[in-house]
């Protein structure tokens, strides 16, 4: 009688969260924290960027666009690789949740691609004298934007959901060749766009406070991407898992995640 019996809980493994119901509950619990982190980091990054970082010697205050331009450009490249990775996992291992994640990432990646292009135009006008030039980096980033739109259009055009996921994975895989092209474009071609602001080989060529502001904004965008992708993937999970027992329990209020 006195012997303490362990409750029969299943061992927690990484695969546990591959079940859409578990993932739905987990992301629901994480969301408030992710939004809080996003807001805190954004406030800190903007304060550093506008009130601590000095005016640039050559570009004046126009350079302050960097605090959203570079993080947006980094995020759109990273998100494409993450999208391609999960799309291929979903295809290769027939993992539904991975495919749902890939679909949830696409609009956010497209948004960041657009933001990188837009802020680039608003930075290029005062510094280069042109809103747009057909430069290797700008053109390859524009292609990335269209790859995101193409992926979204393709997966929505095919009615059979799993076939749509597979076609999307193929497009994402082929399109991922574009990401290293964007990254190395400033090295491979003579471009108007400046080279990498920070690299692993040499010390950064910018003031420490500018760099810190830019990195804080990068983490802010990172947290934002997690938050908004999780919000969207929860919607996708419900759309696809409707008519399953756990969603039924959820909508009837008998399940509380």
């Amino acid at each position: 009688m006195n012997t303490p019996t362990k409750p029969p809980t299943a061992p927690l493994r990484l695969y546990t969260f591959a079940a859409p119901s578990r993932f739905y509950a987990l992301t629901g619990a994480l969301l408030p924290w992710l939004w809080a982190i996003t807001l805190l980091l954004t406030a800190a990054g903007l304060y550093m960027g506008f009130f601590v970082a000095p005016t640039d010697a050559t570009q004046g205050d126009a350079y302050r666009i960097i605090f959203i331009h570079v993080p947006a450009a980094w995020m759109t490249m990273l998100l494409y690789m993450v999208l391609a990775f999960w799309a291929c996992i979903g295809w290769a291992f027939n993992a539904r949740l991975a495919s749902m994640l890939a679909r949830a990432i696409a609009p956010t990646g497209a948004m960041f691609a657009f933001l990188a292009l837009w802020t680039g135009a608003f930075w290029g006008r005062p510094t280069w004298g042109a809103w747009w030039v057909w430069d290797a980096r700008l053109t390859s980033t524009l292609i990335l934007f269209f790859l995101y739109l193409g992926y979204i259009a393709l997966v929505n055009a095919i009615d059979d959901v799993r076939r749509a996921d597979q076609a999307g994975a193929l497009l994402a895989l082929v399109g991922s060749i574009n990401v290293p092209i964007i990254y190395f474009s400033v090295k491979w071609w003579n471009t108007l766009h400046q080279g990498a602001t920070i690299s692993f080989k040499q010390a950064p060529t910018m003031a420490a406070t500018m760099l810190i502001a830019m990195l804080i904004m990068t983490f802010a965008f990172w947290a934002y991407a997690f938050a908004v992708v999780f919000m969207r993937v929860r919607a996708v999970v419900l759309e696809r898992e409707a008519h399953t027992a756990w969603v039924d329990e959820l909508t009837k209020g008998t399940r509380t995640p």
Binding site: F50, A235, L238, D248
Partner: protein, 58 residues
């Protein structure tokens, strides 16, 4: 702090249009996107509830 007053801050050394034109669009997109995602989630919950209600009738 390098700004002496608010108007100097908003002028951004003459680059106000470009700096604020960038930040305004960033703010707009990053507010609209979560709102749309939230709406989609609510719609999905609503549809799932409707579907299960119809399902239980039959």
């Amino acid at each position: 702090m390098k700004w002496n007053n608010a108007s100097e801050f908003f002028a951004m050394g003459g680059y106000g249009l470009y700096v604020w034109g960038s930040y305004a669009v960033a703010l707009l997109l990053m507010v609209v996107e979560p709102v749309l995602a939230r709406r989609r989630h609510r719609q999905a919950l609503h549809d799932a509830a409707e579907g299960s209600a119809h399902g239980s009738k039959t």
